[in-house]
Symmetry: C3
Subunit: 342 residues, 3 copies
């Protein structure tokens, strides 16, 4: 009878379930300016209309991660309001850039379910897609979360674990229509390093650190209309700190990676991602990247680089400890493809 909703619990999901997420969103130069204020984002393609036009796009899109966060934010009330943990990402693809004036909406399909052995929770896999106002797919990705059961005695569903690709195959990467890095201006983009300059196995320390504040991550998380209570309600912990949205760490690390990867303009795919440890106000985020793979594309002058992006609290060279777990200072381990000039 209550008008408010407590969100879905594990037993509220079934395989094949289609969920239309609420609150479509029109983006403008306002979201873009805020992104530049919240993160040290300097990628030229997302900063200048002129630069974007020189790369074959009609104008400068908003950062790929703005699209990701908006599409993701809409899923929170339906997917992760009662999530115990955000377990992973796979098969993320960016299909079309988002431009000021575009309106985004999200839709998810439940593609996997597995009750935990303790009977109190289970894992839900969803494939989420974001579309623009013309119905064109902007991005899609699979995410899986651990969700509490409302009733521990509810019957366990049949276990369905989706078969997910470990890596988005490079020959299936979508290059935005018209993208052309043949005349790429390396002076304006900030670094001379081309796709060909990066070797598999190469590691790049992104040097800078950013100490994060409560006001900032709450501004960011609200901007994406992400409603997860843990990010906003300081009464849940004795020290008043709020758990920082994992996407805030992704954007911070990605922006920090400009120093060494200035020409890694566009995110083309997310292969995998782990929010290894929680991030709190006062933490100083640092990042390093490792080149995992390289691939050519059919677009003129455009190569693809597969990167591991690791964010940590303070400097942390160790990714995992001897027991195979993430080092307690590691915040993020993201495996993704970028597009850059050959």
């Amino acid at each position: 009878m209550s008008k408010t909703t407590a969100g879905r619990f594990f037993e509220d999901y079934h395989i094949g379930q289609q969920i239309v997420h609420a609150v479509p969103r029109t983006v403008s130069g306002g979201e873009r300016a805020l992104y530049h204020a919240l993160y040290p984002a300097r990628t030229a393609l997302y900063s200048s209309d002129d630069f974007a036009r020189a790369c074959g796009l009609p104008q400068s899109p908003v950062d790929d991660l703005i699209g990701f966060h908006i599409v993701f934010g809409k899923t929170v009330p339906d997917i992760s309001l009662n999530a115990v943990a955000n377990l992973g990402y796979a098969e993320g693809r960016f299909h079309a850039p988002v431009y000021p004036g575009d309106s985004l909406r999200s839709h998810s399909e439940v593609i996997g379910l597995k009750q935990n052995s303790n009977g109190k929770s289970g894992v839900v896999w969803v494939r989420t897609r974001g579309e623009n106002q013309r119905g064109a797919r902007v991005l899609d990705y699979v995410r899986w979360v651990m969700v509490r059961k409302r009733d521990p005695d509810a019957t366990a569903p049949e276990t369905v674990v989706p078969d997910l690709a470990a890596v988005v195959a490079p020959d299936t990467l979508v290059v935005p229509q018209g993208l052309n890095f043949s005349d790429h201006d390396f002076a304006l983009s900030g670094e001379p390093h081309r796709w060909g300059d990066y070797a598999i196995g190469e590691r790049i320390d992104h040097v800078d650190g950013v100490t994060v504040e409560e006001a900032e991550h709450m501004l960011a998380t609200r901007l994406w209309q992400n409603t997860s209570k843990v990010h906003f309600d300081g009464t849940r912990r004795a020290d008043g700190k709020r758990l920082i949205y994992g996407g805030h760490v992704i954007s911070m690390a990605r922006a920090l990676s400009f120093n060494g990867l200035a020409n890694a303009h566009m995110i083309s795919a997310i292969n995998a991602g782990s929010h290894a440890n929680p991030c709190f106000s006062g933490d100083t985020i640092r990042a390093w990247s490792e080149v995992l793979d390289r691939a050519e594309t059919r677009a003129p002058g455009v190569g693809a680089l597969r990167l591991r992006l690791v964010a940590s609290k303070g400097a942390c060279d160790v990714l995992k400890t001897d027991d195979g777990k993430y080092h307690p200072d590691v915040l993020l381990d993201l495996d993704y493809w970028v597009l850059m000039p050959i």
Copy 2:
């Protein structure tokens, strides 16, 4: 001879006085994006151009409260710079939505004066109206504030207490031209509850809490060009905290009320409002609503709901204590009309 102004004192006002407030303001997608970053605002009509068009509007307006805060902010240097207290609101009406590109200006008329018995201050009532660049009225409201006297020996003016409606009569509510909720999409708006689903006396706990930070309320208050010193100057209190603009609490509570009132799209009138107690950084704002009345409108598919919106520090079910005063944890008691799909 000083170039700076200390603001008006009680004896500087007279009945019928017309005050043109300075600094007209053009709004853009920037103000809208910031509103979404500052408050957990998710009302679909203010989020998506497509959704707004499906409701008969030319595009998505900015939140009604953006218009209110901008119009209000302009009055501060003229009305409340020396205010001891912001005592109340009445007869607030929203006449036309504000769209990106619109320019707002404010004008007030003094409609009431009453010196306090202590001779040191008095109450000033003003009727303020906001207009857009076409001279069309965007909103108007009456507000009364207690203002200090510059000279305690100044003669008291004749007492004039305006006769104000306790409630804006529902048949005088202005429905924006073209607004039509006949084809309202309840999946995209976020909740299935229609006007007809709300019963008078029904109470809705909006569940979520937001812990507020100094940086956030100062960003918000400056955005509305509100110059009241108490919001910005941390040297006035030993703990460095700044008094939070009451309008910040209104917007936070209104945004929190999405959970349970997702379809209460537009604010049509403000009947009354009290900033019951001051709000400070570190407070966790929660909110509940009570349905006070229901009315039909002539617009297709559009009903009006009269709501009491109460914001408190932490959970607080009690509105007033036995002595008839607001509970010390109550921050806001707002009585307003919204428009929603029948």
Copy 3:
């Protein structure tokens, strides 16, 4: 071999060196809204399209200091990443207003070099110019910074100290095309004081104080894509505080100066400027101005006023102590020309 850069050191500069700064930037209403949220900026010309049109401009430009910060921010990775101190400004001129939709880029020429006697660092003078997407000059200025040497044994360059004007000559001030204050609306601008009302030697206390927060100055500094580590990394000081970008203090003080200088609409030139002492989170910034000079211009109704703008931590009437050094509470001493209605 490293992909990241540690920035230039003193021995990396030579007289006549031309540096194209990376990451061009398109501005929108988003940057303008953020400026209004970050600073108590109320100048009518930068707030309202209507007001700007009544002054002969096509629409409301973004604040002059937005242009300055963006052009300056681009120079940081090339000029001041290893700066020990930002020593001064001279010959700053604002050539054309910046409008939403404009794209800015920066270019610098090294015009002076002087190794310090300790052999560990030196002073570098650069003349930086900002251009818009049409190649039109938006602003230019000279700045000099003390930069560390990478190798203390590197040979000292020939000393070249540029001959800089102590003041931008008023007859060389650029008045934006079309600017006309003949029909200036003093009610809408906020104060009645004209150019003719200000006397040389007059001092204006701007009354208000703003206590600054970490989140705010980091949002601002990132918005200008300023990458200087000291503003963001809280691990560099035991108290976690970050050094606040000097430009944040300039914008805060300039916005505070509205109270008493509401009609000092446009900045036309920066004659000199010193960041006298560092500013940190928790400081309460106050400001006062002194009228240094007055000049006529050829534009209708437009006069020029030369002002000293002093910002301090808390109230501080003393600019310099007996030993000729800035009082430790003084943050900024800026000498600049503004355009205002005669």
